[in-house]
Amino acid sequence: ELKVEQNPLFLSMQEGKNYTIYCNYSTTSDRLYWYRQDPGKSLESLFVLLSNGAVKQEGRLMASLDTKARLSTLHITAAVHDLSATYFCAVGQTTDSWGKLQFGAGTQVVVTP
């Protein structure tokens, strides 16, 4: 059974500083996704990582995937208040149902001045 673990589960960030969220998973997969969720809202796709060594960047966020270590990281550079949200990683479970994902528990991020 595929298990996905995120840490930390809660992250208090100071504006302007750098932080990393980690996502470990238990079985082989080469598909990993990062989503953002604001309170009471749905999930917004941030990154799609489909191969070992994949790295994607958007603004202050950068995600990478190491399929051999079964690890993805989401790096936040110079945090700003607008990045306050819950971040989920999700791992693809099968190759015949690409949208069947196993989500982590989420990392709640609060950015303060």
Binding site: Y33, E44, S45, V48, A90, W98, G99, K100, Q102, A105
Partner: protein, 117 residues
């Protein structure tokens, strides 16, 4: 509309009642997924449709849950004899297609919040 549309946005019902939740996917998306998100947790997979057929219903918790997609577009999630433990946000997502040249990126709706009293 441009995104995945779900109705109702909120549903309050009494234990034992029957509920239906509707999802209208993004136009042209052939794959449709239902997920359930409990408070403070990540979404859990329930069922996946490719076209009209349920290709994978392994996430449905029991036989009180059923979903249909008769014309390959709109889907309805049906819950019989609701229980308090069914209270959650039910999320629908769609993607262009499943397998082959597909990233698996899901586009989620706003969800239907179900509260069973």
């Amino acid at each position: 509309g441009a995104g995945v549309s779900q109705t109702p946005s909120n549903k309050v019902t009494e234990k034992g009642k029957y509920v239906e939740l509707r999802c209208d996917p993004i136009s042209g998306h052939t794959a449709l997924y239902w997920y359930r998100q409990s408070l403070g947790q990540g979404p859990e997979f329930l069922i996946y449709f490719q076209g009209t057929g349920a290709a994978d219903d392994s996430g449905l918790p029991n036989d009180r849950f059923f979903a249909v997609r008769p014309e390959g577009s709109v889907s309805t999630l049906k819950i019989q004899r609701t229980e308090r433990g069914d209270s959650a946000v039910y999320l629908c997502a769609s993607s262009r297609f499943s397998g082959g040249a597909n990233t698996g990126e899901l586009f989620f709706g706003e969800g239907s919040r179900l509260t069973v009293l």
